[in-house]
Symmetry: D2
Subunit: 289 residues, 4 copies
């Protein structure tokens, strides 16, 4: 039996744009006794005609279960409007896995913000193809799985990683400078649920050695890009980007050092947006509410 409790939910919807959507959704929520805490919406060009919305609502002391709420929403609101939709609940913390290689700065920043309460997730596991960061992970009491990858064992190790991630009911994966390209089979298991940080301002300097290439080209700003992973390397939907000013004084090593600060800030902002259900993937682009 479900006893009365509070529900705070985040509703994301996508459907054909036409009058009455906001009215329909808000009327339904009001009828359940919910208060709308925040709402954002976006419509694409008239010729595409799509409507996107994020609504955060609060149901105080309700006898309804989330399942009942969703069943009602599906029947009365979503199906008549051909909506794609989902509701996430703030009292259920997302389970975030980290995959990492040797560089510690992105992982450290995530762990630090997690411990300080700034990042509202559970971190059930860290997977790495190197042992270097094992001790750091231990300092945060997070299980660390060492899965070294070479040309021969890659498929097998990916299967092992998938098994671990699924056992831990992982909601999404953060590649915190994980220096291996994931195979299409891996990506397919977590569609729209793998966030990568690339150390350049994409689409500039995709691929390997972006800081060296930035140095060689003589750009006056370097950047970092957080994006969802797809089968096309560095081509997935961009969530967040930022840059820092550089000059002729900066050698490649300086770019690497400066870049660390941008990488972790950009990755953290992207992860936060994902955790707070602010991101909708639409084709190869994102709407970040």
């Amino acid at each position: 039996m479900h006893s009365n409790t509070d529900i705070t939910g985040r509703l994301l919807i996508c459907c054909p744009d036409r009058p009455g959507i906001v009215a329909g959704v808000s009327q339904f929520l009001y009828a359940q006794g919910a208060n709308i805490l925040d709402a954002s919406q976006h419509s694409t060009d008239p010729w595409e005609g799509l409507f996107f919305m994020r609504m955060v609502f609060h149901l105080q002391n309700t006898a309804m279960s989330p399942e009942q709420l969703e069943a009602g929403f599906r029947e009365k609101v979503a199906q008549p409007r051909q909506m794609e939709w989902r509701i996430d609940y703030t009292d259920r913390r997302k389970r975030m896995a980290i995959m990492v290689s040797k560089y510690d700065h992105c992982m450290m920043d995530l762990l630090w913000r997690w411990r300080s309460g700034e990042l509202n997730v559970e971190i059930p596991l860290i997977i790495s193809n190197h042992k270097d960061l094992q001790k750091l992970a231990a300092g945060f009491d997070i299980p660390f799985h060492y899965l070294p990858v070479d040309a021969l064992n890659k498929a097998q190790q990916e299967q092992q990683a998938i098994a671990l991630l699924q056992q831990q009911q992982t909601d999404f994966i953060v590649l915190a400078r994980y220096m291996q390209i994931l195979s299409p089979g891996f990506v397919k298991e977590f569609p729209g649920r793998i966030i990568n940080i690339h150390h350049s301002f994409l689409p500039a300097f995709a691929g390997a050695r972006p800081y060296l290439n930035a140095y060689t080209r003589g750009v006056k700003l370097i950047g970092a890009t957080a994006h969802y992973v797809t089968d096309d390397l560095d081509e997935g939907p961009i969530i967040e980007q930022d840059v820092a000013r550089v000059s002729h004084k900066h050698a490649v090593d300086d770019l690497v050092m400066l870049g660390r600060d941008i990488e972790r800030q950009v990755l953290t902002r992207a992860v936060k947006a994902h955790v707070e259900d602010r991101v909708i993937i639409h084709g190869n682009k994102t709407i970040v509410f």
Copy 2:
């Protein structure tokens, strides 16, 4: 007789926060046949308990007049919820007056963007206490009123300015580096409708000579602030601010020159937000949707 036409309106509301506001508003608009193009909302702290919303809606080929629409909204939505509210219509361009002294950069930026179609206003008049910019105004075919101010004639000239502004049905006034302090009597005529640009990052360096004071203090960033004018000098609700990096190399004159670029950008952004009905004044602060 009102013939069928399109209406695009921007609705701004403020009322006590409680469930059902979004539902009530959107249900009403839907019932009139309106499509909601954009919506933003904000709630203050629970103990203050206020709800703010901006909704942009479109009514296609409607037989209703704006007056009828507003009458219906007042009765069915606004009064039951003790709303403060207003609707502005995009087909009615706001009438913006500019008051200016000798510096041309802020006025020029506004005029330039106005001519390029970036700033969707009418500019019925420019008022200045100096003749310096008369020729520039003429280049844009805008009536220029020279109202020199000294210790003796200030009250009289302000009356003259008020008369001109009212004759021209001025919606709001931009002080584009107008170097006179407006009297409370003047401000009272245009409450929440006078935008000033102050050449510092307020509350730092309020009052006279902010660049000199910034230089003397040795700050590493200089700024500019656009705010609504109230009776307290440089204390009104802030709309927009920005900064630029400086160093020991910059003399006071360099700060003045760099500052010009920040001033005009900050002022332009604030004016655009005001023109698009994105700003709600709440106490001495602003909500900028």
Copy 3:
């Protein structure tokens, strides 16, 4: 006969790095009675071993002519150290030509800063392949040459442009959104002396329609790049870059509008650096002191 006068010069040098260069140069200037007002230096990686320096010096009430000063410098300082070098004098304003098509924002920004004294150049001519901006140029009393370009007359019109530029002793050319690709023959006439503004963050979105491509890719920042023109389109040495934040809310037209502000700021900063002899081209990169 040369009468006594003041000389303020900007010396730029490039030579093999080894001890004694600063000592040699500053000793020479001191011996002539010069005071060093500003100095910056840069050394490349040890394996390249090049030294770059910019020195601003002031000679008060000297009987020496610039020619005599340069002859002495060549013999005593430059030749023994295999220097490439040049001296520019602040009392000789550079002659800047503007080439433009239909967009006015970059040209306007340059003209405005020129008139306000912020940009210390002479502007002997504007060349355009369209008539649209003729009236604007007239407002600043600058000769405007209309040289329309089509597939058949391009070579001939470029010859005409070169002739005009040379008649006017043009020091450098600013392509303020000039929408024609200059032929190698044209570029060869003004090596390292043509500055272009490209409306993207290079190397991202080189070529045509960068804002459309940025929109399609879904980037979260758009940018602009000022660079010297070489025979490789959009591949020349970068002088300055900057970006602005965008989101899913921005349609292509919004990117174009936002981009205008970045374009003119980036171009202006690049032009100022060139005018103040702060830029040394080294291979396909720049040193901006």
Copy 4:
């Protein structure tokens, strides 16, 4: 006996501005066989007439000791020109003490960059008036001294802190959110050698509770300021500042969280500048080369 070795030094000078200073200094260094790796200079307004310079030089395989080098410089260069000057050597790492209270973010950032090799110092001790961060310090193997402060024991605890700092030959102290005001007696022991991070854009919001005050005023940017500590609270020479954009959506707690990122970045940049001998204090301002 001093055996041959390499010397890399950073020379900082301040003296009356007049011709021949650069020549004199660089001639002296050249005569010792030194190569100048980097040089920056600054002159104040003509009426103040002061000259400042930073020169980084390298002496390869020299038989001279630093003492001999300095004795020669003093006699031949510094005394004839009434220079204030000092030379620091890169092979001698500065000894940095950290004073901290309960907030960990600034301390953590410094320790992290120190461990990653980004911050080239020794950290002989951490002093705190709270025990909260003791375990963190232990994780980095840095001695942690707990010196609780109340109204009665403040003078005594400061004496104890001074004794500890002096025993450890501390070069400079970083107040990484140390929530006690140091007495003039303490400050006098380390003139120009205590760096504080204040969590506002000074001079705005000096004193207590800057984030609350920023929220109340409704500013659109919040900031942080790193400065040298003097007897006037929050009034010392500013080394570095930065800001982040905020809006009506941010409650005070959000400002605190966002502010943490700015605080640690600003503090780190200031500490790096100090460590690399880039900062000269001049009156109540800084020159940061």
